[in-house]
Each structure stands twice: as C-alpha cells, then as structure tokens.
C-alpha cells in the first residue's frame, strides 16, 4: 500500500501546472489578432523585462485585454472547483456544486439591485453581487443549523429553498423593471468572462483564492475522515464542528468572489472535482490542489472556445461549460453505476 506523500502532491501539481501553461499558450495565440509563437515569446520576454515601448501595438492590445481575461478564467476556475470539492464533502452529497446553497442567486440579486439603483457606478455590480452572496451565506448558515450545529441535510434544504426564493425575486425584478440596464442579466446568470474588470478586483480575487484554498487545505485530512461519516470522524479525533464551519465559510467565500466577478458559471464546480477524483483518488490532500489547477485548465479552455468557436460573436462561457459539462456528467454517472 502506497500512502499519499507530499512529494506526490507536489509532483502532481507541477504536472498539472505544466498542462495549464500549455493551455495558456494556446489561449494567448488564438483570437482576433494573429499571433505567431515566435513573436509571442519575444514579446512576452519584452513584457517581463519591462521593455514595453518595444512591443508592437497589436501585442499591447492582446496583452491588455486577452491576458487579464486568461488570468480571470484561471482564478475563477480554481475558486469554483475547490469550492465544489469542499461542498461535496460538507453536504455529504456528490451532486453538490458551489451554487446549491443559493450563493449565486444571492449574488445575482445583488447585481440586479445595483443595476437598477446605481447603473452609472462601475464597481457597483461586483460589489453588490459580493454583498448579496455573503448575505445569502449568512442567512443559509442560520437556517441550516440543527441543535446549534451545521447539519448537512438541513443545510442543503435551507440552501435549495433560499436559491428558489431568490430566483423568484430575480425573475420578478427582471420582468417588471423597465429600462435597458438589466438587458445583460441573462449573461450574468449564464456566466460571462468577456467583460474586463478593474485591476484591483483581480488582486482581490487572487487574495481571496489563496486564503480560501489555504483554509480548506488545512482541513483536508479531516475531510477525508468526514466523508466516511461524521460520527466516525469525531471518534477519530476530528473536530467536526470546527472543520465544517471552516469549510462552509471558505467555500462560500470562494464562490461569492467567483460569482461577483463573472456571474454564475455552471458545471465547473461540480465536475472538475469528480474528474480529479477519478484520476488522482478521493484523498482531499491531493484533490484540492488538483481541483484548483484542473478547474483553471477547464475554465480557461472553455472561455477560449467561447470566444473563438463562433467568431466574432462571443458565446457566454456558461453556455460552453454546460454544453461540454452535461454529456461529461452523464458519462461519469454511468461509470459510477457500472
């Protein structure tokens, strides 16, 4: 029997990062501008060395728009996948995804309210979406307790009910508000990475990702035990209450951040952990880094497809993840049942 070692975790992460690097190169190459590998390497070099004035304007624009978009897909993909893995353990449900507790609906409602009340303030939408997400997390926490502790079933029910309620409010607002500011909401609800964000938000997302993933990773060994049963885990020395709270807060934070930056991109948080489990096993000490990097790869690939497949029209990235994700999900389901 070969137990999991730190070396294996690091080796796996490095291999996955190499794959991610490859996808990044491909993503950099495709798009409105024609870019050759040689020029790309040359200009990336100039960029890193700080010799910006020498970079031709075509590449400047590509770097100015395409590179931040690539970075956003990576950060959001990683956040959603780790959150999904965390929720699957917390809710004791392999079908859990980051949105099952209503976080995305809360975020959407926040975004809508911002679009109605403050359409001219650029940062209003992501901030309000984040506030909406956090408010939903808190509400579901209080609703989801049983005898003062987080209970998986109660939490799931509370989340589903909140999500329904919030969705109803969203539909109500969208059909009853005049004005063109809400016209983009369906894109938000599907998930959209095409809208650039101010630089500050990228740093916030990066910081949140590091904190959230780090916090969940400290409970990785505990999560392995919790998936065999909460009672059993407690008798094996796991502080179940504390672990559940940490995972709940971290996974919700990651989801809230992702959702406020890019809308509710579906299937990534659900499927990436399952695929990684199939390849690397269910041990959370390797699953969490694998999901993070795997999620980055998946979402970056999906976004690249979204902006090239029907060029020059942009598909919302949520449409691509759904179209690729649904058949993959069916395939995984059948494998499990076999």
């Amino acid at each position: 029997m070969r137990p999991l070692t730190l070396k294996r975790v690091l080796w796996t992460s490095a291999a996955l990062l190499a794959v991610l690097f490859g996808v990044v190169i491909v993503a950099m190459k495709v798009g409105a501008y024609r870019i050759s590998f040689a020029d790309l390497a040359l200009n990336l070099g100039r960029l890193i060395l700080g010799r910006r004035a020498h970079i031709p304007s075509d590449y400047q624009v590509a770097f100015g728009y395409r590179l931040p978009r690539i970075e956003l897909s990576i950060l959001v993909g990683a956040a959603l996948s780790v959150a999904g893995a965390g929720f699957q353990a917390l809710l004791r449900n392999p079908l859990a995804d980051p949105y099952v507790l209503g976080v995305s609906s809360g975020g959407a409602l926040g975004a809508i309210v911002a679009l109605i009340l403050l359409p001219h303030f650029l940062l209003a939408t992501p901030l309000a979406a984040f506030v909406g997400a956090i408010a939903t997390i808190a509400a579901v926490y209080f609703l989801g307790r049983r005898k003062g502790q987080l209970d998986s079933t109660t939490l799931l029910l509370a989340g589903i009910i909140s999500a329904s309620f919030l969705s109803a409010m969203i539909i109500f607002l969208m059909t009853n508000t005049s004005g063109s500011n809400l016209r983009g909401m369906p894109f938000w609800l599907m998930g959209d990475l095409s809208t650039p964000l101010p630089e500050a938000m990228h740093w916030v997302l990066l910081a949140g990702l590091i904190i959230g993933v780090g916090a969940i990773y400290t409970t990785a060994a505990d999560l392995n035990l919790i998936t065999t049963g909460e009672r059993e885990a407690m008798h094996l020395g796991v502080e179940v209450t504390r672990v559940k709270l940490v995972v709940y807060i971290s996974a919700s934070l990651l989801t809230g951040l992702a959702v406020s930056m890019s809308g509710a991109i579906g299937y990534v948080g659900l499927l990436v952990p399952h695929v990684m489990r199939m390849i690397f096993g269910p041990d959370y000490r390797i699953l969490i880094p694998a999901s993070a990097i795997g999620g980055a790869i998946a979402l970056l690939a999906a976004d690249t497809l979204a902006r090239t497949v029907m060029f020059p029209t942009e598909l919302p990235v949520g449409a691509v993840t759904a179209m690729a994700g649904a058949p993959l999900f069916i395939y995984l389901l059948r494998r499990r049942l076999r």
Binding site: A14, A18, A32, Y33, I48, S57, V61, Y65, S178, T313
Partner: protein, 364 residues
Amino acid sequence: MGFGHKFRGAKRRRASVVATLAAILCCATLLLSTPAARAAQTGQTSQPAAQANPENAKALPPLVVKDEVGRRVEVPQPVRRIVSLAPSLTETIYALGLQDRLVGDTDFCDYPAEARKLPKVGGPFTPNLEVILSMKPDLVLLAANSANRKETADALDLLHVPAYATDARTIDDVLASISRLGEVLGAAEQGHALEDSLRARLNALHKKLGTAAQVRVLFIVWQEPLISIGQETFLADAMRWAGAESVVRTKQDWPHVNLEEVVRLQPDYLVFASAHPEEITSTLANMRNLPGWRDMKALQENRIAIVSDAINRPAPRLVDAIEELARDLHPEVFAEGPHASLRHQNNNAQRQVKQIAAQAGASL
C-alpha cells in the same frame, strides 16, 4: 491510482524537472505580465490618434461630450474610424453620408445593403471586444435603448476606447439624437438637415391626419407568449405619430399581456412589424381558431397592419415606417395625390442631405 508508476528513475527525474520549470515559468508569466499589460494598454491609447493621422502632427484636442445615458465621453477629433454596435446607428451613419468612416459593424446590420459587406464584430449583444480593439476605432457607437448592453459600454471604458451611447425613448428623441450624433461626428450640417427634413415630414403627416380619430391598436411583438409594447417605448410614440394608440397601458417596456384582457379591449387593428409579411399571414391563419383569439374582432375581420421592421429601429427609416403605418390605419385620409407629394418631399430631403455630405466630404 495516479500516473506515478508510469515513470521510473532517471526518466522520472527529468520529467519532474521539466514540469517544475514549466510550473515556475507559468506562474511567473502570469504574475508579472498582468499589471505590466494594463500599463501597456493605457500607454497604447495615447498613440492611435498620432499613428492614424501622421500628417496632422498637431492632433486636435478631444471633444468632451455627455452622451445620452449621461456618460462623459472624450471624442477624439477628427473622428475617422467609427465602429457601430447597433443596426439603427449603422443606418443613421449612412443617412448622414458618413459611411466611408465606418470601419466595422454588427452581424445584424443589414441596411443599406452595403453595410452587410463591412467587417463584423459579432452580434450587438455579444460583440467581440478584441475585434473592436483590432479595428482601432476613434469612436464606438452604442444604442442603449434598443440594442446593446451596459456591460459592453463599461468594458470599452475600461479598455480606454471612446464609446458614445444614444438612448431614444420618443420619436422626438430619435430625431434629436440623429442631429446630435451628426454634431459629435463632426457632421453637424448633415445632422441638422436630416433632422429638419424628417421633422418636416412628420409635421406634414400630423397635419394630414388632422382631426382623424386615433385608431386603437395592439402592437404584437411576439405571439407566444403574447408580448406587446409599453407606453414609454419609442414604438408607442411611433404609434401616436401614426395616428394610433396602443391599448396596452403599462410602463413596463415589453409587457407579457393577458390575452383575455386584450380581447376585452377589442383593438381596432393588430399591428405587426416584419421584413417578411408572408410569415405573418401564415401565422395569423393558425391563430384564428385558437381560444381567445377566436373572439378578437380585429383578427376575424382581417384588420391587420403589417409594417416594415424599420419601425423597430430608431433610425431615419422609422419615419418611412410611421408614414406607411398611418396610411394603413387611415386609408380614408390618404387618397392618391397626397402619397405622391409625401414621397416627393422625401426624395428632395434625401438629395439635400447627400449634397451637403458630398461638400463636407470634399473639405475633409
């Protein structure tokens, strides 16, 4: 589980070294490049004006205007490269005679026919921002009220591309918008001329209709579900100018109306807008026998007006469509003579605008 067993010994070590280097390179690229890239982007915007027009060594200062949704826009002078993100704006640009400055438009820009041949940026809702950037526009035009998303305007702001949005809610607004657009684009004369001629036609129409009673209409945007227009849309205003009034009284823009209620109101006419009237007639044949529709007198008595889909676009052809609709709804007012005189006026106005445009073009 895992692929570790596939690599052994020296091969494994080499593979891990390569993987680690790739990982470090990947992280370094991403971390270092994004802030640098943004700085590069801001640097780039001060270049295009100088690059595009080398003979104007001294570029004019930009014109600062407030667009129709209240955004502050710095319009570079002169505006040589325009990207239009709405079919109505594309039409207006052609009407203003400025089409040689148009470098890109959307997939749906189909009028006039030449507009179809321009390079495309995608749909009005989902334009490809990179493609827009690659066209190096001096100004991007959006129609807030009809075709584009606010997010696209925000994105252009963040990418430092000047973007001007129109937002016309009434027919007066549409006309004023046209002349204001002319001013912004440095073609004030054409803009005013166009506005005046359109206004003249509308006033003539108004006079012609005189004291004729307002026809009560149901404007059908979509049949299943039944969607009509709200009182505050420019379509409702277009109805009024055509001597009609929409029976649907609500402030919501695209209300999903209750069929029973609409039947109860028994509008005098049903109005559809379509480029393909044959489709509508076949749809109507199917609708006639459905419950609810069965009792709609306008449908049974074939009081249907099908107007061209130009009525959906806040552009000069809107006036054509209004005139057409007025003729359909008030046949008693329009005997043969007046048709000819209206069209004559129309052609005169267009010729005038083209002349002014030609003169203006010569001096640029």
